[in-house]
């Protein structure tokens, strides 16, 4: 290796070390986060069904994800003899890679972003994350099983239909901010003093439904409906390949949560970022972790077994450590510049978690749709509604741009009016649809094969 090559590599590392670190952090942390999302989901499900959920591994089952991962790793890796080996091997990898890659353009904080300030940011996230369907359809085909292929076909049909509605829903947010760049959208929300969910509530609702359908989650989890298709496209997968699919699915949830947060919920901004007497909210992340640690310390004494008490102390210690990380920059002047980044990441992750909580809540509350109902909802109601909504937002913006009064106030008023119009349209759409498909809705599922 010549010195000049070495020098250019060093130069490369010097220029790009932030981005490289962010990328490594995403790839390293997301699998762990996905594991804990599974735990969160199981705990929530248990809570809503009046059970305790996983309790054995660690205090309140806190080490369950790690045990699960180890179990999946040492399981036998079964490849069906009639399957297409190459594609069977490739499919889960594609599914996970797409989800992880699309996180590259998401801004987790003001400066925590791998692909910094690419001006197609939001398109990159949507386009690359939608490549995950390739993993699903290839996996379903390669398994050479009827359940798998039906699951894959359903999944693709669902993805294609709901991506249209979701894409039309994000347009209203893009119209309001006037940019495709992720950090640009968040900054636009700061400058306009409002989260876009308040200016485009219908669009947020459409995106919510579309994102549930895109991640194949209940009530739209037709591709892996247990009672009909065993496990859909994942039927023939086991062990670590199955884990990769699962990882891709949960990573995808994080991606759609981040997109919704960025577009509609103000990204990394804290509530009321421009109101100065609320500046104490900047201390909230540290205080929150401190309180959590204190609660864990309080609970530690009440554990039945000594090991669990020790675990609980460990969790409390972790909380205090994170609180310390949040607190230190306030007292050490040279690293004060990291405060906005830390707080931004805290608020962003809080919003994403709330969005995912909503996903899980919906999953345990609503029964599963039938496939033709799902298609009808997508094509007959959501897509026309999304088109009407784009028009409505455009008209509201035109009114605001042409008025001489306070721009923000007029925009808010016009938005309320157009939202009401859109909702009336929605009611008419639903009634029209009900009247015309009463007999069709009793027909057998004609899409399954």
């Amino acid at each position: 290796m010549t010195p000049s090559t070495l020098q250019s590599i060093l130069h490369f590392l010097q220029t790009w070390w932030v981005e490289l670190t962010c990328g490594v952090v995403i790839v390293a942390v997301v699998p762990l986060v996905a594991g804990y999302l599974v735990l969160m989901e199981r705990k929530l499900m248990a809570d809503m069904q009046a059970r305790l959920g996983p309790m054995r591994v660690g205090p309140h089952g806190l080490l369950q994800p790690i045990a699960d991962a180890v179990k999946l790793l040492i399981k036998e890796d079964i490849i069906p003899s009639e399957s297409d080996k190459f594609i069977f091997w490739l499919a889960p990898v594609v599914s996970m890679t797409a989800a992880l890659t699309s996180m590259g353009a998401i801004a987790f904080g003001p400066s925590f972003q791998v692909a910094r300030d690419i001006n197609i940011g939001i398109l990159f996230v949507l386009g690359v994350s939608s490549l995950g369907f390739l993993g699903i359809i290839l996996g379903g085909w390669a398994s050479n099983s009827h359940y798998s292929i039906i699951g894959a076909l359903r999944s693709t049909a669902q993805l294609v239909s709901y991506e249209t509605a979701g894409g039309l829903a994000i347009i209203s947010s893009l119209l309001l901010s006037g940019t495709l760049s992720v950090s640009g959208i968040v900054t636009a929300q700061q400058n306009q003093h409002v989260w876009f969910i308040f200016l485009a509530p219908v669009a947020f609702f459409i995106y919510l439904v579309a994102s549930i359908a895109e991640t194949n989650r209940a009530p739209f989890d037709l591709p892996e409906a247990e009672s009909e298709l065993v496990a859909g496209y994942m039927t023939e997968y086991s062990g670590f390949r199955w884990a990769l699919y699962f990882l891709g699915e949960y990573a995808n949830m994080i991606v759609v949560g981040s997109v919704a947060t960025t577009l509609f919920l103000g990204g990394w901004l804290r509530p009321f970022p421009n109101v100065h007497w609320l500046n104490w909210l900047d201390f909230l992340p540290g205080l929150f972790m401190l309180l959590l640690g204190a609660y864990c310390t309080y609970r530690a004494g009440k554990q039945p077994v000594k090991v669990q008490t020790a675990f609980m102390w460990g969790v409390a210690l972790c909380c205090f450590l994170v609180a310390l990380i949040f607190a230190v920059p306030w007292f050490v002047a040279p690293i004060k510049f990291v405060i906005p980044g830390l707080n931004g990441a805290f608020w962003f992750l809080l919003k994403v978690t709330a969005y995912i909580y909503l996903f899980m809540w919906v999953r345990f509350t609503l029964p599963r749709y039938r496939f033709d109902q799902l298609m009808h909802l997508g094509w007959y109601i959501l897509i026309p509604l999304a088109i009407v909504n784009v028009f409505a937002v455009g008209i509201a913006m035109l009114i605001a741009a042409n008025s001489t009064w306070n721009h923000a106030l007029v925009l808010a008023l016009a938005t309320i009016a157009t939202t009401i119009v859109t909702l009336v349209c929605a009611i008419f759409l639903v009634r029209w649809h009900d009247r015309h498909t009463e007999s069709a809705s009793l027909a057998p599922d004609s899409y399954v094969g």
Binding site: D84, I87, N119, I120, F124, G127, I149, T156
Partner: protein, 177 residues
């Protein structure tokens, strides 16, 4: 230097997977390699700082058109279809097509005496970091200079879409009756 490394990487991937796409017997393997080719081409667009073209290529070709290809491959029995396509003079026709294309490429190279891409006239050489964001530029030119072609193209697409729907509907109605 980074630029040329990226270019040769993407170009190599594109060429190799294009060759693999043609030579695979299994149609779905071919589709997978076609996807790889399209992604590598998108990578070259990105290396040329045409980020909007890059993402449009991924969303439309890989995310849209390839779905259709894979659907057709999965649902149609291709080995039967392939049997119908075979005809007697196929070797002759294929040789003729390859010869004509090869002669064309050779003639271009001979008369230009340059490799493709060499000696191109480049307007406004600007450093890569200082280029204007091209999704805005694209939108501006689409909605000002090229408004009429843009509208004609979209009407054409709409007509095609409506036509497809009508054809699908008709078939269903005759089946019912």
């Amino acid at each position: 230097m980074l630029d040329s490394i990226l270019f040769y990487f993407f170009a190599g991937v594109a060429v190799i997977s294009a060759v693999l796409m043609v030579t695979r017997r299994n149609a779905l393997h071919s589709a997978v390699f076609l996807i790889t080719t399209l992604m590598a081409t998108a990578g070259i667009f990105l290396q040329l700082r045409a980020e909007f073209l890059f993402i449009a290529q991924i969303i439309i070709y890989v995310g849209g058109i390839m779905v259709l290809f894979i659907f057709v491959i999965m649902l149609v029995r291709l080995d039967v279809a392939l049997h119908h396509i075979r005809f007697r003079m196929k070797n002759l026709v294929f040789t003729a097509v390859i010869a004509v294309l090869g002669a064309e490429a050779g003639a271009i190279l001979y008369y230009a005496r340059k490799l493709p891409g060499q000696g191109l006239f480049i307007q406004n050489i600007a450093p890569a970091e200082k280029l204007a964001p091209n999704s805005e530029k694209l939108a501006e030119s689409l909605f000002s200079n090229y408004l009429l072609p843009f509208e004609i193209a979209s009407v054409l697409l709409l007509v095609a879409m409506v036509g497809a729907v009508v054809m699908a509907k008709n078939k269903k109605r005759t089946e019912d009756s």
